[in-house]
Amino acid sequence: MSEKVEFFQTLDPQNKCGILSENYELSLELENISLSDYSPNVVRSSEDIARMVFSPLHIDEDGTIKASAFDDVRDKGLSVHRLKYTKSGTLKIIGDAMASNAVGAGRSHRDYIGYVKALTEDIRKLMEGEQRLFCVYDTAKEEEKSHADVCAVLLVSDNPNLGKKAANKQRRKRLQELFSPLIKDT
């Protein structure tokens, strides 16, 4: 295992994006490396990725996903799935399993209600000046080979009128604008 992969795999899972944002150049390099032993390969810019949705609180009345649904990009990583590596119905199976696991773990019942998708290239194109805002990493899991993560790798802004928290709101709004309305997965 390369040193860089080991570095990534030992990051605090609750703040891996926060730590990566402090290592901007390395963050970009890691996109070109498979970061998991279960990986099919790195996430291509031509791939669609999907964010599964479990709460109607994240969906507006017109089916649009709300910006707050992307808050994880700044710390834990926005957990997504590569649609290229999900067969028809796979997302629903994963989503239903996640919902069932929550109940089994003593948490309240929730339902998998669908997903929103975006093109990886569009996410990677989001910039502030000459710097990229987001990276998309191949973080396949043994049971979910399609798993990937989106991380915000630039948390501060060149705009002196935006503090870090306000900049985060800007980032997730820009990300939200790239995603489709909710796709109900049946």
């Binding site: 507006d60 503090g163 306000a166």
Partner: protein, 188 residues
């Protein structure tokens, strides 16, 4: 339903109900009328991923100082924000946490300040971190005001490409003029 005299005074000062209104359950008058929280016991039924429907525990009088639509929108919003407290851990499927009651109260108080400024009722959203945000999203303008605790808020504005914001602005301070100016473009 019978309203208490205190409720009538409060309602009149907020300008949202007349003496003909039925009771609005209130608690915790935390200062001057500018800081009153309106708490009601709404329950929520979720019937579809796109629409959260509410059971109102009050009715609104035929005399109000805002439009009926705004009145209904505001009640729905109050209900929604208050309901966040009932969320369980992992409510979003990604280990999301519910906001604190104090954060909810702060958001509602701020919302009431906006209402007195005749600002259009915003939408709300909730992050997995427990932050409650109020937001307005029009063609060329986006405003988001987020509450992570009961004493501060963070706002972000994009107005025709011009962006500004502020982290952890004290709730005790007047709304910044730059923010208020943009908010008033969403006047009722």
């Amino acid at each position: 339903m019978i309203r208490t005299p205190t409720t009538m005074i409060v309602a009149a000062s907020l300008g949202i109900a007349s003496s003909n209104s039925t009771s609005i359950i209130r608690e915790n008058i935390i200062g001057a009328p500018s800081s009153i929280s309106i708490l009601t016991d709404y329950s929520i039924k979720t019937e579809s991923p796109f629409l959260i429907q509410y059971e109102k525990s009050e009715t609104i009088s035929d005399k109000y100082f805002i439009s009926e639509k705004e009145d209904n929108d505001l009640i729905k919003l109050h209900s929604l924000i208050n309901s966040y407290e009932k969320l369980s851990n992992d409510w979003d499927g990604y280990n999301g946490v519910a906001p604190e009651r104090s954060t909810i109260n702060a958001t509602i108080s701020f919302l009431d300040v906006l209402m007195r400024q005749s600002i259009q009722t915003p939408k709300s959203m909730l992050s997995g971190s427990g932050e409650i945000s109020l937001y307005w999203d029009a063609e060329n303008t986006y405003i988001e005001i987020g509450f992570e605790d009961d004493a501060h808020y963070t706002y972000f504005v994009n107005n025709n490409g011009e962006e500004f914001g502020k982290d952890d602005y004290p709730l005790s301070e007047s709304i910044p003029n730059s923010l208020l100016k943009i908010l008033k473009t969403f006047s009722v």
